[in-house]
């Protein structure tokens, strides 16, 4: 039996062929290394993220998450739900919390769930993979397993919004969370602790609809990393990863800049540090290659 076992909610963007399929791959490698078993929630659905609000109002949106929790409770009883995507985690956790606080809504949601022959008990903790790493495994244990320390790699920890607010990681500040820095240090890399844009919003919600607004924000996030001497950015959120990475060409054109800043997931860092190859670490999924990681991974 694996040391740690969770009910896993991968989310739409992690699916094969989707924008953060590389996240999924590196998470799988990471979990193998850490002896973590992820049991995917069968037939999970989209959480509708935050942007769902425009058409889906409260009850439908909460019902979507409630369905996932109910499915998890049915298929993976007693296991904490773990999400790797910030938006998935937030939507699900928020739904769970609101249903704890609001009995009326809890009743309504179960009425809706009954249409799909499901019932929600709502007694399952909803957690982000970062919490698993920090709380269940711990930085010390993580450091122990490092085979190829990320020596000399300067990494800016970009936490973003939804992994950080409103819930965040226990004991961390909303304004200056340090867990990514600690993670980087545990893996033998150089954390850029003075990176002051670590919780600045990337404007993901507007990336499609009003790109000029979101790209202005992304520009600032990358610039600050450059100014602080970062070789790359690490993030725990697929939306942040995608936004900050993939629009750099457009941003360079817009701002006359020459950014070429790799943006990777924590799971990729761990995979590499634990000795996995580039493919297992999904480094091939980078639009902007994380060369320093590739060198280490060999």
């Amino acid at each position: 039996m694996a040391k740690h076992e969770y009910s896993y909610y991968p989310g739409c963007s992690s699916q094969s062929g989707a924008s953060s399929s590389n996240l999924m791959r590196s998470v799988n490698s990471m979990c193998e290394e850490l002896d973590v078993k992820l049991n995917e929630i069968p037939d999970w659905n989209c959480c509708s993220a935050s942007i769902g609000y425009g058409s889906g109002s409260v009850l439908p949106r909460v019902s979507l998450s409630a369905r996932n929790i109910a499915l998890s409770e049915e298929a993976n009883p007693g296991q904490d739900i773990v999400a790797t995507c910030a938006a998935c985690w937030l939507s699900t956790k928020e739904a769970s919390e609101r249903l704890h606080e609001d009995e009326g809504m809890f009743k309504d949601v179960n009425t809706a769930l009954a249409e799909a022959n499901l019932k929600l008990n709502n007694n399952t903790p909803v957690r982000h993979m970062a919490e698993v790493l920090i709380e269940d495994i711990g930085f010390d244990a993580l450091a122990e397993g490092v085979k190829k320390p990320l020596e000399g790699v300067k990494i800016a920890g970009y936490v973003g919004c939804q992994t950080n607010r409103p819930f965040g990681i226990a004991g961390e500040s909303f304004e200056n969370p340090k867990y990514l820095d600690k993670l980087v240090s545990s893996l033998g890399g150089d954390a850029i602790e003075s990176y002051e844009k670590k919780v600045q919003c990337c404007g993901g919600a507007l990336a499609f609809s009003e790109p000029e607004k979101s790209q202005e924000m992304i520009h600032g996030i990358i610039e600050a990393a450059y100014d602080n001497g970062a070789d790359m950015i690490v993030t725990p959120c697929p939306l942040c990863q995608a936004n900050v990475e993939i629009y750099q060409d457009e941003i360079n054109a817009r701002y006359n800049s020459k950014f070429e800043m790799p943006v990777v997931y924590y799971s990729q860092l761990i995979s590499v540090a634990y000795g996995r190859n580039s493919k297992d670490a999904a480094l091939d999924g980078q639009l902007i290659k994380a060369k320093k990681l590739e060198e280490i991974a060999g």
Partner: protein, 207 residues
């Protein structure tokens, strides 16, 4: 009588009460003390015509039309900065979402606002299969202003698309269907039920 007219009739001079009764977390609006921390904390602050705190004041001042037709709340990126800093713990993000949704239900949301449109497209995309099809979502966005401009947009973003495909982060076959939920009908019935419950409640509130 439209829902909007019915609501106007019902609440007359008290928009605050209307918001409290019908908007997601709207009951919290009364608790705002006008400190402005939300306004200063919003990463898109510059884009807002009316900041959250000002919207709350406008609600109290019965500026119903101005609030509901405003595009300000559509600027919300759900970054939750306002929520964590609000000294009164108002769920501002949710109230912004709620105001937007409510405006949309009443038919007052600004049609020209792109995020409003995106939000709807996203929802519809998601509801088709129970999971989001990123490719279709992206394409539908490019083609939102018609076929010709859609082709232009597509070309403009061609490089990005190619790169994503190369990195296996975009799959052309997704256009043919892609991932989805097996119990789609159960999911759709569930959503329908949830929507009905809300609609009935709103209808009842307008009486």
């Amino acid at each position: 009588m439209s829902l909007n007219t019915a609501m106007v009739e019902k609440y007359r001079n008290n928009f605050l009460q209307e918001v409290a009764g019908n908007v997601e977390e709207g009951d919290w609006v009364k608790m705002c003390m006008q400190c402005g921390v939300c306004a200063g904390s919003c990463p898109l602050g510059n884009a807002w015509e009316h900041t959250p705190q000002k919207l709350f004041m406008m609600i109290r001042a019965n500026k119903r039309d101005e609030v509901l037709t405003s595009d300000s709340m559509w600027m919300c990126t759900s970054c939750y900065n306002c929520i964590v800093r609000c000294p009164r713990e108002l769920p501002i993000t949710h109230i912004m979402h709620g105001l937007a949704t409510y405006a949309k239900k009443l038919g007052l949301a600004p049609q020209s606002n792109p995020t409003q449109w995106f939000s709807e497209t996203f929802w519809n995309n998601m509801m088709k299969k129970g999971r989001v099809n990123e490719l279709k979502l992206g394409l539908s966005l490019y083609f939102k202003d018609g076929f010709v401009s859609g082709i232009k947009e597509s070309i403009a973003h061609q490089k990005l698309g190619m790169n994503m495909m190369k990195a296996k982060r975009m799959a052309p076959m997704e256009i043919m269907g892609g991932h989805g939920v097996k119990d789609l009908s159960g999911l759709q019935k569930m959503i329908k039920k949830a929507q009905d419950i809300e609609a009935e409640r709103l209808e009842a509130n307008s009486k």
